[in-house]
Every structure is written in C-alpha cells, then in structure tokens.
C-alpha cells in the first residue's frame, strides 16, 4: 500500500511515450489478422453471392454449422498450439471415436450414454498417451502424433472390420431413442424462440407457417461454448498463463514452477476430447459411423488456428482467433458453392489464405518485438 504513490508516478504520463500508440496495442492482439480476414471474406461474399440465399437465415446456419464443426477442433488445437505442440492425430481420433460409439450401440445393444462415455474415456487415454510420449521422449509432437494418426486410423479400420466385418456402421438412430446423453449432441436449441419469431413474422416461414430455420444446431452451441471457455481459461486463469508459458519457453516455465508436463498432457487430452465431441455430433447427425471419417481434419484445424493468429512456434495465439479462422473456413467453403464457382477451387483459396495468414503473423510478431 505504501508504494501506491510510486505506482501512480509510474503510471503518470511519461514524456517519452507521447502516446503509447494505440495501434500498437491493437497490433498486439493475435486476433487482428483474423478479424481483418473475416471482414474481407464477408464483404467479398456479400457482393459475390448476393441474391443467392447465402445470407438468408437458412444459408447462414448452413455455413455456421460447417464453421462450428471445425471450430470445435480448432479451439482445442489453438490451446495446444499456444502450449507449443501439435496434434495430428485428431482426424483419426474422429474416425475411431465414431466407431467406438457405433459398435457397442448397434452391435452389442449398449445404451448410447455408455458408448459415449467409453468413447470419451478412450479419448482421454489417447490424449494422455500423446502427451506422455511427447514429454517423456522429448520428440517433436509432430512425429509422435503423426504416428498416432496412423495408429488410430488403423485401429479404427482393423477393429471395426474385426468386430463387424464392415468399415461402416449405420442405423444408429434406431438404437438410441431419447437417450439422455444424446440430446447433448443432436438436434437444435432455442426452437421455441425461432417458432415465436416466426409467429410474429420476423423470420421466413415455409408454406405451413413453420420457420425455415427451426433452431440453432447444437454444434454451434458447442463451438461458441468451447470458444468462450477457452478464452476464459487463456485470459483469466493461472492455467491459461501456464499454457502461454509452456509454449513460449518450456524451460523458463519449468524454472518458474509451472507444471509444464501436466499442462501439455491436459492439452493433448483436450484435443482428443474435442475430436470425440466432433465425432459424437457427426454420428448423431448422420446416424452412422465410418472409419475414414475425419480425414485431413487435423490439418484444417491447424489452418484455422494459424489464420486465427497463433504462432506455430507456440506461446502466442487466441481462442477467438481460432473461432474466426473456422468461421472464415466455413464461409469460404460454403460461399464458393453459392457463388457458382467450381468448388474444385476451394483448396487453392484455402492454401493462399494460409500463406497470407502466416506472413501476416510473422510481420506482427516482428512489430511486437520492436523495442518500444
């Protein structure tokens, strides 16, 4: 308390800092590039896809759902990347989690909640293995999780064929009527609100007077919820500070008493869990599971995170950025379809965007480190 006046002195105007250039403070936010990108892409499609229905409520829900699914993965991938590691096994984890949910319910008549719990337990185990091996061996997580990319995919295909003789399992919805845990991963929320808005004529309705968009898909709720949670963790909790520290300089963090190994293991578990959430949503949505589901999702998640301003080297990034990265991804993927451009070009666009994002991030980091 005695030193408060000193602090006041320190905070008082310093003639050397005429104005701590506000733009520089803004430049420090990792989301900057992603916000600019979002505005740009949005503006582009508002012009290019005008009158095509992309920006009707139904169209918006369409691309938001694509964004949401990727965003769920990207949030976890962002935390892990800030923590200084990658997880390339999440795509395979999606495939594996899908069949872990499907086989017990369809083949062995398990209640869905039990199958879901089993899938999440397996995800915890896989995440723990990834994290433990990275910590223990000191190998780059790129290599360790690349190995798990193949191991998990192989387990999914081999196990599924062994137990069922097939690599696809359908008809899950017949086995899971009104399961209490299923409601977490299927359907829509706020249906009442949408019906009410429709009854007042505020949103478009079909011939029967029902709203065209009946509610918010539950995947979007998951996406927003996880993004909010991750943002809270990163910005306001000690654990968030440990994530930044572990990714910024693991050795320095360890010397300061940060439990780096525990932080990294928990982050790997979180990415595996997010893949399982993704798989659960997909299985509930389609009523089927397929061992090849989730291919390339690990790379798409990384793209979203990098577009969102995270540094590949760790220690810097944000969950909101990752969410915006996923939003851009979804808008472009669906938007190209609306503009009538052949969707074959989507990947070209994606690659170019990734390059621009990385270049921009490098520029930002250099600016940040400029002495005052």
């Amino acid at each position: 308390m005695t030193a408060t006046p000193a602090a006041k002195d320190a905070t008082r105007e310093d003639e050397r800092i005429a104005a701590v250039a506000t733009w520089k403070k803004i430049m420090r936010r990792p989301e900057l590039g992603a916000i600019a990108g979002t505005v740009l892409v949005l503006a582009f499609f508002i012009v290019a896809a005008s009158g095509t229905g992309m920006f009707t409520p139904a169209g918006i829900m369409n691309f938001l759902e694509v964004s949401a699914q990727l965003g769920i993965l990207a949030t976890a991938a962002a935390l892990l990347m800030i923590g200084g590691e990658f997880d390339l096994s999440i795509g395979s984890m999606i495939g594996l989690a899908g069949i872990i949910i499907a086989i017990p319910t369809v083949q062995y008549g398990w209640p869905l909640w039990a199958a879901l719990l089993l899938a999440f337990a397996c995800a915890v185990l896989v995440g723990w293995c990834n994290g433990y091996l990275v910590n223990r061996t000191g190998l780059p997580s790129f290599i360790v999780t690349l190995a798990f990319l193949f191991i998990l995919r192989g387990l999914a295909i081999g196990g599924c064929r062994l137990l069922t003789g097939r690599t696809q399992i359908g008809g899950i919805q017949n086995h899971i009527p009104h399961d209490w845990l299923a409601t977490l991963f299927s359907g829509e929320v706020a249906t009442g609100l949408f019906a009410w808005m429709a009854s007042h004529g505020w949103i478009a309705t079909n011939f029967a007077g029902n709203p065209m968009v009946t509610g918010i898909p539950v995947s979007i709720v998951w996406w927003l919820g996880l993004t909010a949670l991750a943002t809270w963790v990163l910005l306001f909790t000690p654990y968030g500070n440990w994530i930044f520290a572990s990714g910024g300089d693991a050795n320095a963090a360890r010397n300061s008493g940060v439990p780096v190994h525990r932080v990294k293991i928990s982050l790997f578990i979180f990415t595996a869990l997010s893949a399982t959430v993704f798989a659960s949503l997909q299985v509930m949505d389609t009523g089927s599971a397929d061992t090849i589901r989730g291919m390339l999702k690990e790379l798409e998640a990384i793209i979203a995170v990098v577009i969102g301003g995270a540094l590949l080297t760790g220690g810097y990034g944000s969950a909101v950025g990752a969410a915006l990265g996923a939003l851009i991804f979804g808008m472009v993927q669906m938007g190209i379809f609306y503009t009538g451009v052949n969707t074959d070009w989507f990947k070209v666009f994606l690659g170019v965007m990734l390059l621009i994002a990385v270049l921009f991030n490098n520029f930002v980091r250099k600016k940040m480190m400029e002495a005052r």
């Binding site: 030193a3 408060t4 000193a6 602090a7 002195d9 320190a10 905070t11 310093d14 050397r16 800092i17 701590v20 403070k25 420090r28 809270w232 306001f236 909790t237 000690p238 968030g240 500070n241 440990w242 930044f244 520290a245 910024g248 300089d249 050795n251 320095a252 963090a253 360890r254 010397n255 300061s256 008493g257 940060v258 439990p259 540094l311 220690g315 810097y316 980091r365 940040m368 480190m369 400029e370 002495a371 005052r372």
Partner: protein, 276 residues
C-alpha cells in the same frame, strides 16, 4: 554475525552425470544479510551448482540445509517454496508474454473461487508496476511484451520478481555479464540493497571486478571442486583473480602480454598498422 545458523548450506555435495563428475564434495554456506560470490571459470561447475541449489538437479551425495533444516528438493517448485529463488542467466522470461504475465508466471494471484477462480489482473498489474518502480524502472505499460525491454530491465524484472515472492535466498546467475557498465552498476547496487534487506545472496560470476565490491565472502570453484571459502578480509582482489584463473596460467599470460607490448615498438609493420 556468523554465530547464527546459515540461511543456506551445502555439505559435501557431489553431482555426477553418468561418469562425468560435475561437482565433487562442494561445501558452502551463506548467512542472511550476506553476499557470497561464487567464482569460477567456464566449466567449473557453477551452473550445476546453481541448478542443484534451485532444485533442478538432485545431488548424487551430500546434504543441503535451509535455515539449518535438511532439505531435498523434488523440483524447482519445492526450492521456491523454501524461499530459494534463482534468477537464471536466461532469466526465465518469455519474450512474447507481457511483463505482468511473466512477473507472476507460476504464482498468479487469484480472486473468486471454484470455476470462477481467476487471475486478479488489476492487482497483478498494480504490483508489477510498483515493484518495477521500486527498483527504478518505470514500466510504461505492464501489458507490453517483455521482449521489448532492454537486457538490464529484464534482469531487474527477474530479480524484482524473486524478491517480491519472498525469497530468503537469492541466487543470481551471471546477472551482470551481458550488461553495459551503467546497467551493471544498477544491478550491483540492487544486490547490495537486497543484502541490506536481510537476504542471503549467492552471486555467480566470473567477473571479479563486479564481485569484489559487493561480496562479503567468496567461494571459488574449479573443475567441479571447491578451492575454498574466504571472507573478504582474508583475501585480496588479486588473490581471488589468481586463484580463479590459476595463478600459474595468469603469470604466463602476463609474460605473453609483456611480449605483445614489446613487439609493436620493435616491428615497423605493426606500428604502421597502429597508426593507420
């Protein structure tokens, strides 16, 4: 003053890495309100000694005591809890993180409870600013990345952090080696201040000129063994220097230097080079 129990004490500590003997039977002690300079050339085992004191390495044999109590540190966190704070040469500062985030890394002040438990940013920023101001650095914005600070400022942030977190023993690893003259004197003055505040300071350096003014005692390390513990009254600056480098080597260096000084005068090419 030295009748009391030492704040920190090492008794016959050895550390082996496989068949490499990094430390061999090293003993030292530091009392509260004392600066002990640990001097040694490169490869003398200074880093291993610091890391053993700070809990990064566990001693292969021997005993460590804090305030007379035997301790075994399982990790750096245990050493920190016993009041031993180490400022490593790399400062344990993360350039991309803000001053406040760095200052409180691993020991964030929190408010609230349960899932709403969160970092008290207002308090954290205020303390970071205050502690910086106390050592004469006016931080303009506690959210600016540490990477934007100068070397001396970073050093001071690191020391201020250790002191703020109630360090009883402060271990400084080459705190002045990368600094200019003026910044080094700021750090040295700060070390003296910490001693006057009753801390036990272990100051690791190979620069006798930095060490001698602030030190109360010296321990010299050479090739993993201790050459002895000396009170300042028992030893002169030259003696310290001699022991550190190995007297014979230094004498031969003197002879060589004398040789160099003679040569330019005698050699016309060298003197021409000196003029141009």
């Amino acid at each position: 003053m030295n009748d009391t129990v030492p704040m920190i004490e090492m008794r016959h500590v050895s550390k082996h890495f496989g068949n490499v003997i990094a430390l061999n039977d090293v003993s030292l002690h530091v009392h509260a309100g004392e600066v002990m300079c640990l001097l040694g050339d490169n490869g003398a085992g200074k880093s291993t000694l610091i890391k053993t004191l700070s809990g990064v390495h566990k001693p292969t044999s021997g005993e460590m005591r804090v305030s007379g109590e035997p301790v075994r540190f399982k990790s750096p966190a245990y050493a920190l809890d016993s009041g031993i704070a180490t400022v490593f040469q790399d400062l344990a500062m993360i350039p991309l993180m803000s001053i406040t985030r760095n200052f409180f890394m691993g020991r964030e002040p929190t408010v609230g409870w349960g899932p709403l438990k969160r970092i008290d940013w207002k308090q954290a920023d205020r303390i970071a600013m205050e502690e910086m101001a106390r050592i004469g650095i006016d931080v303009r914005d506690p959210s600016q990345p540490v990477g934007t600070l100068s070397g001396g400022e970073r050093q001071c942030v690191a020391i201020a952090r250790a002191v703020y977190f109630g360090a009883k023993v402060l271990i400084l690893d080459e705190p002045t080696s990368a600094l200019g003259v003026k910044q080094a004197s700021v750090v040295l003055r700060y070390i003296a201040k910490a001693r006057n505040d009753g801390l036990a300071v272990i100051f690791i350096t190979h620069n006798v000129h930095h060490a001698y003014p602030v030190a109360d005692a010296f321990t010299l390390l050479k090739r993993g063994t201790s050459l002895g513990y000396f009170r300042k009254s028992e030893i002169s600056r030259e003696e310290v220097l001699n022991m550190m480098a190995g007297g014979a080597e230094l004498e031969s260096l003197d002879a060589e230097l004398a040789e160099f000084q003679r040569t330019p005068a005698e050699s016309p090419t060298a003197s021409r080079a000196a003029v141009s």
